[in-house]
């Protein structure tokens, strides 16, 4: 796993995560204040041997046990609620809009083209830095939850409805996204990578994604094997006759950082292992293991998939 990528909400790289981190620190501070006052009074009550006037003890109990916690919690609640409008606000019109569907156990990603089309990819999301981005989140089977801890809050993906989320990355880098709602056997391995880049690199990436895969004569053997082995029943590679929709689109597979929905780095060794020991890598995954592939066939497929830039 690419450990350089961040998966910490406190290592924020987006406006939402920054506010959440702030709130976390204020809450921790508030909790410390309440703890000190309540425990301090309790210790004082145990240790003190002299008699106290009744009026004063009433004030200590009511003040330390009710008034101070109420004031602290009200302050935290007001502070937290005040954050909501900004976090809930949709991204301004014209922002990049990305549809993400949770599918056990991967992510179908469509970038909405301003012209109305969809640019299809999977398990990897590129975002331009310092730009608000609008997500439209759905599920194709059970309830999932879409969470990029370093960029912002999480939100459920519910079958039959579209939830929206705005994220606003503020720092370039590679971040982990996860499914945050238990969704079955491979839930913990339902992950994705998020790459935040400058606007130019993002535009270039999206332009590449919008195109069909380039093919060359060296890829012909691999493409023929991909088709004849039936990979095309589940996977699409635009530019070839592979048009399956059951599994992730692989048109630019070679350019992705990870395989198996963020589980392994995209290296030839990992990919070779994935093809024949699919269920060893990711128990429960829908993709069947192709145990009968010979070593040579695996190499051919791995070379071909890696060449899908």
């Amino acid at each position: 796993m690419n450990i350089s990528a961040s998966q910490s909400a406190l290592d924020f790289a987006g406006k939402g995560a920054e506010r959440i981190a702030e709130l976390f620190y204020w809450m921790t501070g508030g909790a410390i204040v309440i703890w000190i006052v309540v425990i301090g009074l309790a210790v004082y009550a145990v240790m003190s041997r002299r008699a106290h006037p009744v009026r004063m003890t009433h004030w200590l109990v009511i003040g330390g046990g009710a008034v101070i916690p109420t004031i602290t919690l009200t302050a935290l609640l007001s502070y937290g609620l005040a954050m909501l409008p900004e976090l809930q606000e949709p991204a301004p019109k014209g922002s990049t809009t990305i549809e993400v569907a949770g599918v056990r156990w991967w992510w179908r990603v469509n970038y909405l083209d301003p012209s109305g089309g969809r640019i299809v990819t999977a398990n990897e999301i590129y975002l331009p830095v310092d730009q608000p981005v609008e997500f439209k989140l759905t599920s194709e089977d059970v309830i999932h939850s879409f969470w990029i801890p370093s960029l912002g809050g999480k939100i459920d993906m519910v079958p039959g409805r579209t939830n929206r989320l705005k994220l606003h990355p503020t720092r370039e880098g590679v971040f982990h996204g996860v499914c945050a709602e238990f969704c079955g056997e491979a839930h913990a391995q339902m992950r994705f990578r998020v790459v935040v880049t400058d606007q130019n690199a993002f535009d270039e990436w999206l332009e590449t994604q919008s195109q069909a895969s380039k093919s060359s004569s060296e890829m012909a053997e691999g493409e023929a094997m991909f088709l004849s082995r039936g990979c095309s029943a589940c996977h699409t590679i635009r530019g070839t006759s592979a048009d399956g929709m059951v599994g992730p689109d692989l048109t630019h597979f070679g350019s992705r950082l990870s395989i198996a929905a963020g589980v392994l780095d995209n290296t030839p060794q990992n990919l070779a292992r994935w093809l024949v020991d699919t269920h060893g890598v990711k128990p429960g995954v829908e993709m069947p293991a192709f145990e009968s592939l010979s070593g040579e066939e695996v190499d051919t497929l791995v070379r071909y998939l890696g060449a899908l830039q």
Partner: protein, 363 residues
Amino acid sequence: MKRRLKELAILLTGLGILGVIVLVSGIVPIKASSGHWPITRWILDFASNRSVGLHSSRIEVPPLDEPGMIRLGAATFDSNCRWCHGAPGFSQPPVAAQMTPHPPELSEAAGSWDDAELFYIIQHGIKFAGMPAWPTQKRNEEIWPVVAFLRALPHLDAGQYLDFTQGDGVGIHAAETPIDRQVQSLCAACHGTTGSKPTNDRVPVLASQSRVYLKRSLQSFRDGNRYSGVMMPIAHRLTSQQIDKMASYFAEQPRDTSPPTDSRDEGLIERGRVLAHHGDQAAKIPSCIDCHGPGENAPSDEYPRLAGQPARYLQRQLELIAQGNRGGSDNASIMHPIANKLDKSERRALAAFYASISGSDTE
């Protein structure tokens, strides 16, 4: 009272000691050559009759008069049973005749059992009688043709038996080459001499099937990885070279392209066609044609071509795969998650679609 109990205890202990002495000394002959005493014979027969009668009482008997069913049963009998029970024109082999108890000559003996009892005996065998269980417990439907055959057995003469087991429904052909002879004696009765006209719709068409798939299937049957009480014993007799030759033989046979005569349910076929071509994204069912044809790209030889297979055979295979009862080569595991997602009506539709197109269709 107390004394009685004491005497009884001494008696039982004495008998127990005697029993242990008899067992340990080995004085009782276990030899088959002398047969059973009449009383032993009677007790064993009585006990096994009662047991078979009781345990077979809940078995439902399907129709046993399907076309070709007796021929299928005869071929299986010839492969699995004849070497102990004999058959019309084949007296009981001398080795089996020296078993205790004797394997009965079945044209008479089968009459004393009803269909369910015969099924139960063939499926499970009989302990201590040398009657083995069916080679797999995963394919019970294969047993009914044998029951149908046993019912017909009293009316068969040697010529008919030979025709059933060595012919292909048309006649017994003169076999010239070794591979022809082998196909004639092992395959033709069920699959037809060219593998293009199976005797019954339970049996797959082999003609023009992918050679690699045929080879892997025979290997899986031989190695016990694909389950069938009919095919496992046959494949077990084959050497690797014979398997290669047989796979090539059937792969090279032309298909019978005459249109199927049975009634077509166009709605069902259309449903199957859509599912086979496009799968079902919502249900995560991939398309069939990418691996099994027919389509623009030729699928890998590792996978079976399904066009023109009998609908019943296909539907049954999908059921077996979903139950985990089919087995097969390394490739079979690819089908498990897919077959699991198909419901009964989808299996029917897919089978009807593939049965409706001929092997030469490319669409």
